[in-house]
Structures are given as structure tokens and as C-alpha cells.
Symmetry: C2
Subunit: 293 residues, 2 copies
Amino acid sequence: MENSRFNELRIKVNEYLDKYMEVIYPESVYESMRYSVLADGKRLRPVIAIETASIFGCSIEQVMPLACAIEMLHAQSLIHDDLPSMDNDDYRRGKLSNHKVFGESTAILAGDALLSYAPKLIIDKTPSSIPPEIILRVLKEFFIAAGTDGIISGQIVDIDSENKQISPETLDFIYEYKTARLFKLAIRAGAILGGANEDILEKLTKFAQYYGHAFQICDDILDITSTIEELGKTPGKDIKAKKSTYISMFGLEEAKKQVIFLCNQAYDILKESSINSEILSGILTDIVKRVNK
Amino acid sequence: MENSRFNELRIKVNEYLDKYMEVIYPESVYESMRYSVLADGKRLRPVIAIETASIFGCSIEQVMPLACAIEMLHAQSLIHDDLPSMDNDDYRRGKLSNHKVFGESTAILAGDALLSYAPKLIIDKTPSSIPPEIILRVLKEFFIAAGTDGIISGQIVDIDSENKQISPETLDFIYEYKTARLFKLAIRAGAILGGANEDILEKLTKFAQYYGHAFQICDDILDITSTIEELGKTPGKDIKAKKSTYISMFGLEEAKKQVIFLCNQAYDILKESSINSEILSGILTDIVKRVNK
């Protein structure tokens, strides 16, 4: 995304991720964790969390542990998704996937470790100006996104659906759980940290839902239209794995239309809620641009 | 362990585990989680947590979410340890290991899911009579045991040590991180939940350390002296994997002596601290009996 505040925040996230992840004995597991967490990435989810929290008055220092924890969770899901028994992908974020470098057992354990490292970071590093009951609510959002109420169920249904004709409802479930729930975490936990009320929390949840689904359909489109250099991971995987996507179900043109529709819906929520955020509106225009390139 | 309160608590833990783990869509991941969590087990760690918390005045209802979360974490570590890329074990707790029944990808995801399900249970089900700052401290103990400060680093070093001559210090590291840290979690988090002061917490941590190491050496001894029926998992694995154990390093007789020494040290702590608990003293006499059978 071409936005100077976005880039500033992305650089800050990278600095903190680096600082938060020291390598000590036994080095291999820490190196494996760092390899995936610090790999080149847009830092979209942590930046969204920081931006949302700052709308409600949080400082960078207050939200940074949460933001980095979300990026660690995202990296965890990618490490385990890439395993041979899962999606079996050799490339991720422009380099070899974790298990290709560190071996399968270390990759599994590094992923496991991140699932504890991330919430412990929130507990250890969130400044004491944030009350404990708020931290508990933030942690709960984290576990919703990380577990059976989130990416785990998305991945299970995604794997179960390979080589199968699935219904639009099942596809919707996969997009919601595998993709949108992480964005919901970034937005909801950010807003909760800043003390947002239930009404605005509901609206922002809806925003994250529209955005998350649009993001995933955009991802499907890029899987077809991009090269490995542009994508940083193997393209054409969905077709190869005979995966049902929005495109295989409704066609490429309909998919592009749906991205634009969802982004407009999300944009309306920002307008209704009088949220003036270049970053939150910018992530919408960004995917609209990408599908229309 | 032959103790009626222990048995009562074990039954209660099983009831709550069953109640806490409903099967909903997508069923396969919940079934896989239940398969391992509800498999026959001594429920040693949750019972120790309940007993410790009750010494400091906690009710069963107050400690049960924590107790069940600890058992879920234990099950998670077993599911992932048994995977082909790890210890590659086909049997666990008297039945086929998780990936042999549900497949590797579901077993990995079920383990991942438990790492979020368990702490979320603590947040959702611990009664509001426990203050949020205490719940945060309990969760922190959970992540210490579950992550790089606990079983993950133990397992990493354990795997790295196969087919290698290792030092007594490395062996001690493995026993501490892979085994003792889970007992420390049960004891420390139980005591913290009940509001124990730092002094007694330190002493109980030492108790858990002695017990944890004794427990692991006992486990090594039983790996040599037991049948698959007695053990519920494949015996003779350490020798087959050319794993260094306390026995391979110091011999069987020295190993038995060390178990007795450690249990005596642990027993002295209970006496010094005026802790009269049939369960905490009983778990010590129990392993002494088992190594001397």
C-alpha cells in the first residue's frame, strides 16, 4: 500500500518483532520462529490493529505487543499450512518455506511455540496503563481467531474440500474462518484495547468481515493472474489442488465484481461511523486496484 | 494412585473435560481433540492443580477450568510428539495415536486448536470470584509451560539429542523442560489461583521440580521394565531410538536411587511447609513404589 503512515508503521512493526524475538538456547527453535515471523511481509494485520487502536486513543507502545502477537499468529498459520501433510508448499514470502529450511519437526514445534509466545508477549509487554480485564478480552479475541472459532476450522474445512464439489455456504465458511477471522482479530482487539463501545465494535466487525472476504477473493484472483515473483509463493496452486474458489464457482469477472461490492460495503461502514482513516480506507482501494490491474 | 480423593477428582476431571468439549461443525477437528483429551489417563496434572489450589482455599469450580486446560495442553504435546516427523509412535494411552486415526493434518490442527482452546477455557469458565489479574498470572504460567520456556524447548533438545552422546546437563535440561515444567504449571498456577504468597510459591516450585525429574526417571525405568499393556504406549522406545536417558548414563540401580533421593527432597518440602496433603505426598510414594516393583 502506498501510504507513508502505513510504511512508517510497517517499519516499526518490523523493529519490534526483531526486538521481541531474541535467539537463546535451544537456538534452532528460535531461529525457525524468527525465520518465518521476520520474513518479508506487508504487516497488514498488525498495522490494521495499530491503526484501529489509535483511532480509539491508544499509543504505539500500548498496542505494539498485540500487533506483533497477531503477526506471530499469522506466521504460525503459514508455517503449519505449508507442511507436507497440509498444503505442501515449498515457497512462502519469496523464500523457502519453514520446514524446507529447518525440517518438519522443528517447523511444527516453532509453530506450536508461536501460539504461546504471542499471547505471553501480550501479557508481558502491554503497558500497565491497560487494565487486566481489557487484556483478558484482547486475549480472548486472539484465541477465537487462532483456534476452532477461527483459522483452525477454516483450514480443516479447506483441506476436507480439496477435489470436492462444495456449496457456496462451505466456501463462505472457509473464507470467513481461514481469512476474515484474523482481520476481525486485528480490528476487534485493537478497538477493545482502545476501549471502543459495543456499537462501534459491531460495526467494525462487519467492516473486517467485508474486507476479509474481499481480501481472500483478491488472493484467489492473484493466484491465477500472478507470477511466483509477484506473489512470493507458488501461483496456480488452487487449480492444481482442484480447490474450489470464488472464481471456480462464479467465474473471474463475477469475482472481481464481488471484491468491489464488498469493498464498497466496508467503505460505507467507515463513512457511517465517521471513521477518517487513510489506512482503513486505503486497504480497500488497494485490493480494488490489485484485482483491476 | 490408590487414594479415594484422587479417584474422586479424576472422575470429576473426566466429567468436566467431557462437558467442556462439545462436538460441532467441523466435527473432525473436535472429534480428534476429544479422542486424545478424553483417552484414558491418570489425570495426574489436573488433579495436582486442583489439590494445590484447594490447599489455598479454592473450590473445585474455581480451579476446574485451569485443571482441564492443563490436561488439554498435556494431550496436545502427546499428539504432536507422536507425529511421524517427531517420535513417530503408533500407540498412546492404550490406543492408536491421534494421527493414525485422524490423519496427520487433522492431528496437527487438533493439537494447534488445543493450544487456544485451553487458555480460552480458563478465560471463559473461571468464575468471576477470581480477579482478572490473577487469571492473567495463571495464563502466563500456562504459556511458560506450553512454549519455548517449557515443553517446546524440551522436545527440540530431545529430538536433537537422538543418536548422540549428550552431557548430564543436556539431559537435565530435557527432563526439566519436557516434563517438570508441566508439573510446575499444575502446582504454581494452582497455588497462584488460590492466592499463595511468593515464599510458599518458591517452595512448591522446588517440590514440582524434584517431583518432575523423579517422574521422568521413573518413566525411563518403566520404558525398560514394562509391557505395552502396562504402559499403554510402545515400550523399549528409548533404546530403539538410541535416546540418552538417566539409565543409559548412570545405570538402572543409580536411576532408582535418584528417584528415591528426589522424592525424599520433595517430601521434605511438604513437611517444612506444613502441607498435609495425601495427594501430594501420595504421588511421591506412588513413583517410589513403581520403580521398586
